[in-house]
Subunit: 335 residues, 2 copies
Amino acid sequence: MDAAPLAHGGDLGAARLLFPGAREPFVDLSTGINPHAYPIPRLEPEAFRRLPEPAAVRRLSAVAAKAYGAPSAAHVVAAPGTQILLPYVAGLVPSGRAAVLAPTYSEHVRVARLVGHVTTEVADVGQLHDADLAIVVNPNNPDGRLFGKDALLAVTKDLRARGGLLMVDEAFMDVGAAGASLGDEVACGNIVVLRSFGKFFGLAGLRLGFALAAPEIAARLNASLGPWAVSGPAIAIGEAALADLAWAEAMRASLGREAGRLDEILTEAGLDVVGGTSLFRLVRTPAASELFHHLGRAGILLRRFAEQPTWLRFGLPADEDAWIRLRTALAAFPP
Amino acid sequence: MDAAPLAHGGDLGAARLLFPGAREPFVDLSTGINPHAYPIPRLEPEAFRRLPEPAAVRRLSAVAAKAYGAPSAAHVVAAPGTQILLPYVAGLVPSGRAAVLAPTYSEHVRVARLVGHVTTEVADVGQLHDADLAIVVNPNNPDGRLFGKDALLAVTKDLRARGGLLMVDEAFMDVGAAGASLGDEVACGNIVVLRSFGKFFGLAGLRLGFALAAPEIAARLNASLGPWAVSGPAIAIGEAALADLAWAEAMRASLGREAGRLDEILTEAGLDVVGGTSLFRLVRTPAASELFHHLGRAGILLRRFAEQPTWLRFGLPADEDAWIRLRTALAAFPP
């Protein structure tokens, strides 16, 4: 089984071991990260040198609250990526039953178990109502399913009656349907929304993410993270990028066009696109393993799924050369 | 009480509120961060854009193991600063009795309580033997006390017999006595050593720190942090800096000379230097509060301690102008 070293996307080191001699540079389509990164502003040396100041984190939180529709900066927790928040969020409720709407990002099940929850994967929102911790990725990764606000709020209401919590991972909500985020609903007290910065802004290496939650929950999460959770560069870049609503709007439109182009190429190659978002497309094919290896040998890395052997996820090519390489390699399949 | 907004060093925003109209730029002596930062190498855009790859983290861990004297990369956990590790390390033992060698960095008591330990502060190493979690900062902050390896290993042995753990925060060990680190002793299984990157290398805003521990403990900590805990820039800069042993050696010598110069200036001003390391000096004076405010009004920020009202900690001035401003302001005290 060679899936283990590629449990997550973006691991070109492992890809090179799996496909020695593949064409370089690798075209990495294995993530859902925007290949058109937000332009990095000039960083002051102080951003690297000094401890991040509380006032700077408050400014970042205020900008994030506005960008993500949270009621105020007090409803925002800034973190070095959302991944590192998962154990703290999952630990907000005493060990009990966690239900994860699946199939989805595998870390949610792993972390819910790690912190002591008896964790089950469920297929639809209706099965979340009797959990102590309900976890939904919205829109879902990798199939792009979008869960309605009303249905999620109904879950929240039932959970609240029993001290339960809904965690909504909105990692890809920047390209989700307008108005679908639960960021403006967190004041009710038992919803935690996670927002990734690095995916939509194409800066995954920076490590920046947010939890949106009621102020008392946000305070608990901040107490666990401690002071200085977010780096100086992440604060500076995050503040600039999240305030740049014009960039975001133009990027959303542009990513939508590129996702359409990707669908055309995939369909032209005889593949069924069964879901996704503007940052990735999901293909289902019985030839998934062969196609993964065919493209891998051509230096194009996809995301495959150990539990879903007929699925392949395609991220967006970064430039015209990458688009041509993908189209050419697909045209030569099956070999 | 105006201490609250300055609970930690480095908060110039709070200093400006406390000392409106103070001379600018502020001379920040309130931290123990090296004012002579490691030169930041050119960073590839990919460091910001791509998810950090597992192989890159392994390389960083290997360099850190060598720099810190840990047995191997498997004994190293890379994190976005050591602060964020504290709850995970304190949570390695079931809730019980935590003993913190005090007075010291206040976050250890706060976090040990946060994760559920009944936490007491003790005055010497001999009082750590019956704890479930013993916490020592070595050399200690702010008094610079250095605790002997034999005494700490004796604590470890007693704790091990009862499933207890010793956490040694070696945040300032880069300027500690040679051979005093417990980094080469972590294989025994119940020692976790924390090493800060940002203090000695003057890059606190980068957020990088390490835990050194037995591989099974390191794996537990890594499981909590999840993939991608450390940013791309932190990996790139950390790898370069930790491998640069010549820079470290020269910097240690240079910081030692500057600490000596600081002692001269403080002594000349009639102050008692009662401890410290090469990155900060501790003064005890009944006029601590007056001196803090006198220097604050002159745009020089010190670190004071709510629990120790006669203490003031002085970091190293960054440049000749800052040295002169400190000497001049001290000469005008008492006003």
